[in-house]
């Protein structure tokens, strides 16, 4: 696990190099969530909307929208996909995203239209970590661990 300015950046995940992390699952689907620096920038998340299971999304469209008292934004999918599952616990308690962005507070699981194109717009490993560090610098983010 890399850490930069207090922000956790797991090296084994894939990233869109903006808000989103992705994890490949054994069944060919991908789990999506928001990164630690992104949840930090957003502040305490109070409201979440996640697209319903079965909805199809084109590349770049939002699978979820999140709102805090000081910020609102979307969670885009980096490839065209269908929503297979959504995290009902996050819908019930959006603040979970601030506490466990990489684990319990995953947002949705999606099935890509074309598995061959999935890696076109996402990165992993050291290349991703360096780009995320630049992201953190660009937006001047300092992460602090949240106790809940």
């Amino acid at each position: 696990m890399s850490e930069y300015r207090g922000c956790e950046l797991p090296e084994d995940l894939f990233y869109d190099l903006d808000y989103v992390w992705l994890r490949p699952e054994d069944d060919g689907t991908w789990t999506i969530g928001v990164t630690d620096p992104a949840q930090t920038m957003s502040g305490r998340i109070q409201k979440s909307r996640i697209k319903k299971v079965g909805v199809h999304l084109e590349t770049g469209r939002h699978v979820a929208t999140l709102e805090s008292g000081k910020w609102a934004g979307g969670v885009p999918v980096p490839f065209a996909a269908e929503v297979i599952a959504r995290n009902e616990a996050v819908l019930e308690d959006p603040h979970m995203i601030n506490v466990a962005p990489y684990t319990d507070a995953w947002i949705a699981r999606v099935k890509p239209d074309d598995p061959q194109r999935v890696l076109d717009r996402i990165k992993t490993g050291s290349e991703a970590i360096e780009a995320l560090k630049a992201w953190i610098n660009r937006y001047d983010v300092q992460c602090m661990r949240c106790a809940g």
């Binding site: 909307r49 469209r61 939002h62 709102e67 609102a72 979307g74 885009p76 660009r138 937006y139 001047d140």
Partner: protein, 150 residues
């Protein structure tokens, strides 16, 4: 002569009213009217307001701040513009699909984004530029008008 601050604040108010008018039409299930108003809003905010900011105001601000094109303020504002463009497309798609629930959800998010985004511009960017370029209000008004004619 109006300052950059006054001109851009006034444009925020005009755009907010246009978006609210579109939302009101959708609420009343006047889909065609809502779509027309949203298209007008989209055009004015992207082709005029955001275009002016990204082509004139942000570079002017960055030049005053030492020429840093990755300044945290303008980086954040540019990112806001990029995100908003996607939301505007999604709102137009929700209207095409006659999906009131989806439209209202997107509207809530977009209005929340605009509220914080506009507040940041109005407190950190526009006053700074008005102070740095007190004589440029007239030239700026003309540039805005030229973009509106396109």
């Amino acid at each position: 002569m109006k300052s950059i601050d006054e001109i851009m604040r006034g444009d925020h108010e005009r755009l907010d009213a246009l978006l609210a008018a579109s939302a009101q039409a959708i609420e009343g299930l006047r889909w065609e009217e809502g779509a027309t108003l949203l298209a007008q809003f989209q055009h004015d905010i992207i082709e005029n307001h955001i275009a002016v900011e990204e082509s004139m105001l942000f570079p002017a601000f960055e030049a005053q701040e030492g020429g840093d094109a990755n300044h945290p303020l303008t980086s954040l504002l540019r990112k806001g513009h990029k995100d908003l463009r996607v939301f505007f497309e999604e709102m137009a798609e929700a209207i095409s699909a006659r999906d009131t629930e989806e439209f209202e959800g997107l509207l809530s998010t977009v209005q929340a984004i605009l509220k914080t985004h506009d507040a940041k511009e109005e407190t950190e960017l526009y006053p700074f530029l008005s102070k740095a370029f007190p004589e440029n209000g007239e030239a700026f008004t003309q540039a805005m008008a030229a973009l509106k004619r396109k």
